[in-house]
């Protein structure tokens, strides 16, 4: 194994790059990238009718398609978007993982709308993994929709053009006179009509249109986009059918656990191998060296058993002698102490600099200083990490519940010592992502184990494994100083961010101040600098990375500034958002912050929440906003706080501008779910680390919000526009915590500067 210290850093660098890549939202219009794309028709689709796919890289698509098909012959249509059967059933393949964000439904709606398909006869299937055919197949950063928006619409529109061409030929009419609706083509003048299914075989022989020539619908022409949908998998979900990664069962399958050092970076010296092998149901046990990369395979002990329970029981008996010489000794209690000591020593070197903050402070009508902090957090989606792997015929065939299947292929290839093309990955539904499954470590482990097992093997992490070996949301500490000028306007913003580094040079993954905040918090005089504490525990992307906690600090402090200004908070925010100040350079291409869209969501949120109304004693209405993952969002909470610090949530309002809404029911669900998740996290979630070991081992120590304490309603409103649609998975998270803190201040005069709130004695009332 390579030197552990540099492995930590390399692993972290991989993850940082991945997060950046995942989060980048395409800014330019679709036509810029379209030249590189070509449609293709899939040979070998047999009698299934028209099959359309995409190809992103030249003329080799046919060979690629054939190659993949021979590897996995069970699914002839794995690299296509649309299949139309003679009975007019339309099968649409969703290329990206369904992790709860509703993408499998939304992707279908987007394609079906351009195709003018009858939604009642659309069947959604999960595409298998083939980035050469599908392009990006990840789900993260709320980018699935913005990345695929043009591609999917072109798939639908292209197929429709070919169907129309087939009909025009058969009916000998001009294609422009043919209209499409609900999977039926009609020629009004002659009264002729035909189903897509009846035309599919002929359509498949039509020339493939150039995507650049396709005329896509305008927003007013949508028939399906924007309506309310049921989840396409819901019938299977509610009846318990095999769907998730953990549900995979194969003939002759065996079951594995994998145990790594509780302090990240520890290596196996030895373990009680004879005792473990003698345990009931155990088939084998062996140490795995791993690659030393957190994002791949760290050293550990694999136990193979005839069922999961036997593997877990044996794991309980496992005694590993760990080499801790290179292992983490991180301590969160020490980090807090260190950070608070460092906070007031503002570094010489600034990362962001506009104007002159010191001059502003000297001339200010008022200055405000505050220190904010928030803890590490774990993702812990309800489906514990798992992967089923089958090493056969030189191929690593895998079933992986992951957010980044395509990016897993090269890593798994590396671990298994095979070309990435020899990795065949089947997508499963994913029992929660939240950013955890951007990393394919568990899939890599399964591959390493499968090569030593002569059978399909399902690697199943315990919940305790999942808590102990996450890529955590890093803690953060912010020392702010702001100035208000004599007109009550924000004049200066100084921020010292104490964060973490894995390599000693740059922030650890997920630990950088987000560009969303860098560009949406504006001040005529601005100075930001950071101090980095060394960290060995791996960090990563956690729902709305960076924003999920940094917005709490920034927008809580913004409220403190507005109070100092003596102005209304909403007016203060809108004034600040619209300040014409020198732009920071270089401007990140993926940031499309719009002061107008921000203004509109803040105003609407205030209006819907009844801003300015008189409230009873110990009640308060607070508001915060953010720009996150290309969404402009404002959230308001009305609540009361009793003298025992019990918070009764009255109402939560969330207003979003994410462009046009694809699935209104799904988008509301995301707005409510992200708000609930944010409330849960702000109230109670915290990971403690001592001596490199995660202290929380299961949900008993990590109180995810439960039904009796959850809000009864969350009112979501959307400002729809012609802007390209952007994702809904994350934007409704970040502004909730500061809205909560601001409303608690409004109710009590007490400022929340530290999360979680339970550490400050707050609790949600029943």
């Amino acid at each position: 194994m390579a030197d552990t210290q540099s492995s930590f850093a390399r692993s972290d660098a991989y993850l940082s790059a991945l997060i950046r890549e995942v989060r980048s939202v395409p800014t330019a219009s679709a036509t810029v990238t379209m030249g590189r794309r070509t449609f293709f028709k899939l040979a070998g689709a047999g009698a299934a009718g028209l099959v359309l796919g995409f190809h992103l890289g030249g003329a080799a698509f046919a060979a690629d398609g054939a190659n993949v098909d021979t590897v996995d012959s069970k699914d002839q249509a794995m690299n296509a978007f649309i299949r139309i059967a003679p009975d007019n059933t339309i099968t649409i393949y969703s290329k990206c993982p369904e992790i709860g964000q509703g993408i499998k439904t939304s992707f279908g709606v987007i394609i079906a709308d351009e195709l003018d398909a009858d939604w009642n006869h659309v069947v959604m299937e999960q595409a298998d993994i083939n980035p050469k055919v599908y392009g990006s197949q990840g789900a993260g950063g709320s980018t699935s929709i913005p990345h695929a928006w043009d591609q999917l619409r072109q798939a639908g529109a292209g197929a429709k053009v070919m169907l129309i061409a087939a009909a025009a030929g058969q009916w000998a009419v001009d294609s422009s006179q043919i209209t499409a609706r609900d999977s039926i083509l009609t020629h009004a003048a002659s009264g002729r009509s035909a189903t897509y299914g009846s035309l599919a075989a002929a359509a498949a022989k039509m020339p493939v249109p150039d995507p650049r020539d396709l005329k896509l619908k305008t927003r007013t022409e949508y028939r399906l986009i924007g309506k309310r949908y049921r989840g396409v998998d819901d019938p299977k979900v509610v009846s318990g059918q095999q769907l998730f990664g953990i549900d995979v069962q194969l003939p002759g399958m065996v079951y594995a656990t994998y145990t790594k050092c509780p302090a990240a970076g520890g290596k196996v010296k030895s373990f009680n191998v004879d005792e473990i092998k003698a345990q009931r149901g155990v088939l084998d046990a062996f140490a795995v060296d791993g690659t030393g990369m957190m994002v791949e395979v760290m050293p550990g002990v694999a136990i193979i058993a005839r069922d999961t329970w036997s593997a877990f029981q044996a794991k309980n008996k496992l005694q590993v002698d760990w080499d801790l010489s290179k292992a983490s000794t991180d301590s969160t209690s020490q980090f807090s102490v260190q950070a608070s000591k460092l906070a007031t020593s503002f570094p010489q070197k600034a990362d962001d600099k506009v104007g002159d903050v010191d001059k502003s402070f000297a001339n200010a009508a008022k200055t405000v200083e505050a220190y904010y902090e928030y803890p590490f957090a774990a993702h812990v989606p309800l489906e514990p990490m798992n992967t089923t792997a089958y090493w056969h015929d030189g191929v690593m065939e895998m079933w992986v519940p992951t957010q980044q299947p395509d990016r897993g292929l090269p890593l798994i290839g590396k671990v298994a010592g095979i070309a990435p093309e020899k990795v065949v990955m089947h997508q499963t539904r994913v029992g929660g992502g939240f950013g955890r499954r951007l990393v394919n470590d568990y899939a890599c482990e399964a591959a390493a184990i499968a090569q030593k097992v002569n059978a399909p093997v399902k690697l199943q992490w315990t919940r305790e494994d999942d808590f102990a070996h996450d890529f955590y949301r890093p803690a953060g500490y912010h020392q702010f100083k702001g100035a208000i000028d004599k007109n009550g306007r924000l004049d200066a913003w100084r921020e010292h961010f104490i964060t973490f580094t894995a390599d000693g040079k740059k922030e650890a993954s997920g630990a950088n101040l987000t560009d969303n905040l860098r560009y949406s918090i504006k001040a005529p005089n601005l100075r930001r600098a950071k101090t980095m504490l060394p960290l060995r525990i791996p960090t990563g992307a956690w729902r709305a990375p960076g924003d999920n906690a940094q917005v709490f600090a920034a927008q809580s402090f913004m409220h403190e500034l507005s109070l100092a200004s003596g102005r209304d908070h909403v007016e203060f925010l809108i004034d600040a958002v619209n300040r014409d100040v020198p732009e920071l350079a270089p401007k990140d291409k993926s940031v499309n912050f719009s002061p107008k869209r921000a203004t509109d969501v803040i105003r609407m949120c205030a209006e819907k929440a009844g801003w300015g109304k008189t409230l009873p004693k110990r009640s308060g209405l607070g508001l915060a906003w953010c720009y996150s993952h290309a969404g402009h969002v404002a959230q308001a909470i009305e609540l009361s706080v009793d003298t025992n610090k019990q918070i009764k949530i009255g109402r939560i309002v969330v207003v979003l501008d994410v462009g046009p809404i694809i699935d209104m029911a799904g988008s509301e669900a995301q707005a409510q779910g992200a708000s609930t998740d944010a409330l849960s996290t702000a109230m109670g979630l915290k990971i403690n680390i001592e001596n490199g070991r995660i202290q929380e081992q299961n949900y008993n120590a990590y109180p995810i919000l439960r039904m009796p304490f959850a809000p009864m309603t969350i009112d979501a409103y959307f400002i729809q526009s012609d802007n390209p649609p952007t994702g809904m998975g994350e934007p409704a998270f970040p502004a909730l915590a500061p809205a909560l803190g601001n409303s608690i201040f409004a109710a009590t005069g007490e400022r929340v500067r530290r999360l979680p709130l339970r550490d400050l004695g707050y609790a949600l009332a029943v």
Binding site: K315, Q695, Q697, P708
Partner: protein, 456 residues
């Protein structure tokens, strides 16, 4: 009357009172005097051997016998820190006047007892005197172990010397003055350590005498179950009537029908002692769970029966506990005692507890999780309920792992108080009135310093 004379009278009066008081304390010293009758020196006792190992092990080698006796004396529970190496010490005793730590009794020559001679070992066990001549704090139960025979103590030593030496220096005690002065223990020892070996009672059966030896000289039950006097020594006026210990309550194990074990059948007692659980009475947790798992469960049935016989002879002593409620609570959360009284506790119970404990208190999953009839649940102080909620249960028994999650990290003091109050009200005889502050105090009393996570 001169001032001098007056002072003299006052001093004399104080002396008389003090003497009387310490005499009273002294009279509470003997744990077996309740049985009356006459005792004889062990060597003079006619009958079966009531010390040492049971007949099954009579021909076993010294180490094997020592192992049995080490279990019977339950050395391990106190000499092992949570997650630490067995017998390597570091377990914290939190007392009103500070914290002391158990020491390393593995045969490590530097930090353990590897250099102890037999005489030094016996001095430690019988008199509370370390090899260097310093006095041990009576957290080491030498005033109980003093009844142990030399042969049994040395068998234990022989066993301990077969353990792998662990290098584990003693942790620094944190005691306030004057408790930090070990020399003052000389006075305590004169008053409270009889420094005599076990004397069989000729008026009692051999089984009773065996039980007495196991309970007093080995298992030192009274160290937890007998209330302590002002000098922190067991006061046998209320022998086995229950007492607070390390933030938990050791319950009344006298024959009182309401507050004690008078309503337990012999089989219930046998089951509880041998497995740490008796159907209808619940399971042991906390320190008693450790006693069951590290000690009592290792006893052969005859020895356990002897313990039961001995316990049955203890004079009944009513304490402040109500009779346990044996009937299950209603199936609906809306019905029953706690229906309206405490909604926060109810909601927390609903989320974290009802899955296993049910709204009735009778678990649909396992008898181990049934709350109905459990002493702790019927203790209106809710001390042990709160401690169990905070610390959970994680007992490895021959019948498998007995597990309840620990909620101390994820739940606030207020929440734990609310759920403990709810549980005692709904399933017990009388609801508790714990506050968040009470729970914070309970946490401190039972706190152990080091925490290690297991594999994974």
């Amino acid at each position: 009357m001169t001032m001098k004379k007056a002072i003299g009278i006052v001093v004399a009066a104080i002396a008389v009172v003090a003497l009387g008081f310490s005499g009273c304390l002294f009279l509470g010293r003997d744990p077996m005097s309740f049985a009356g009758g006459s005792t004889v020196a062990l060597a003079a006792y006619q009958g079966v051997d009531i010390t040492g190992v049971p007949a099954q092990l009579a021909s076993a080698d010294l180490v094997k016998r020592g192992e049995y006796l080490t279990h019977a004396a339950d050395c391990q529970a106190c000499h092992t820190a949570p997650g630490g190496a067995p017998f390597a010490g570091g377990f914290a005793f939190n007392m009103p006047f500070g914290t002391i730590y158990s020491t390393n009794i593995t045969p490590d020559k530097q930090t353990g007892i590897g250099n102890y001679t037999d005489a030094q070992f016996l001095a430690a066990v019988h008199k509370g005197i370390r090899a260097d001549g310093e006095k041990l704090y009576p957290a080491m139960p030498y005033s109980s172990y003093t009844y142990m025979t030399d042969a049994d103590a040395l068998a234990i030593k022989a066993y301990l010397f077969t353990l792998a030496p662990v290098h584990a220096p003693a942790r620094q005690d944190q005691l306030s003055w004057p408790f930090s002065q070990r020399s003052l223990l000389a006075i305590w020892n004169v008053v409270f350590n009889p420094d005599e070996r076990f004397r069989p009672n000729t008026g009692q059966s051999p089984q009773w005498n065996r039980g007495a030896y196991l309970a007093e000289a080995m298992g030192h039950c009274g160290e937890c179950h007998t209330p302590r006097n002002l000098a922190y020594a067991p006061d046998n006026h209320g022998k086995f009537a229950g007492a607070p210990t390390a933030g938990w309550r050791a319950y009344n194990i006298t024959g009182d029908k309401d507050s004690g074990i008078g309503n337990w059948s012999d089989q219930d007692l046998f089951s509880y002692l041998s497995t740490g659980h008796a159907n209808g009475h619940g399971g042991a947790a906390g320190p008693m769970g450790e006693a069951a798992d590290d000690s009592l469960s290792y006893l052969v049935p005859d020895d356990t029966h002897a313990l039961v016989a001995y316990l049955r002879s203890i004079p009944s002593h009513a304490s402040d506990l109500p009779r346990t409620v044996k009937t299950a609570a209603p199936a609906s959360y809306k019905e029953g005692v706690a229906a309206e009284s405490n909604s926060r506790g109810e909601k927390i119970f609903a989320g974290a507890c009802a899955s296993c404990h049910d709204w009735t208190g009778v678990s649909p999953v396992t008898d181990y999780a049934t709350l109905t009839g459990v002493r702790a649940v019927n203790d209106p102080s809710a001390t042990n309920v709160a401690q169990t909620v905070i610390n959970g249960v994680n007992r490895k028994t021959v019948e498998g792992t007995i597990f309840m999650p620990a909620f101390g990290e994820g739940y606030s003091d207020d929440d734990i108080a609310a759920v403990a109050n709810y549980v005692t009200a709904r399933f017990g005889a009388k609801g508790a009135n714990l506050t968040g502050k009470d729970v914070a105090d309970l946490r401190k009393q039972a706190a152990q310093q080091s925490k290690e996570t297991p594999n994974g």
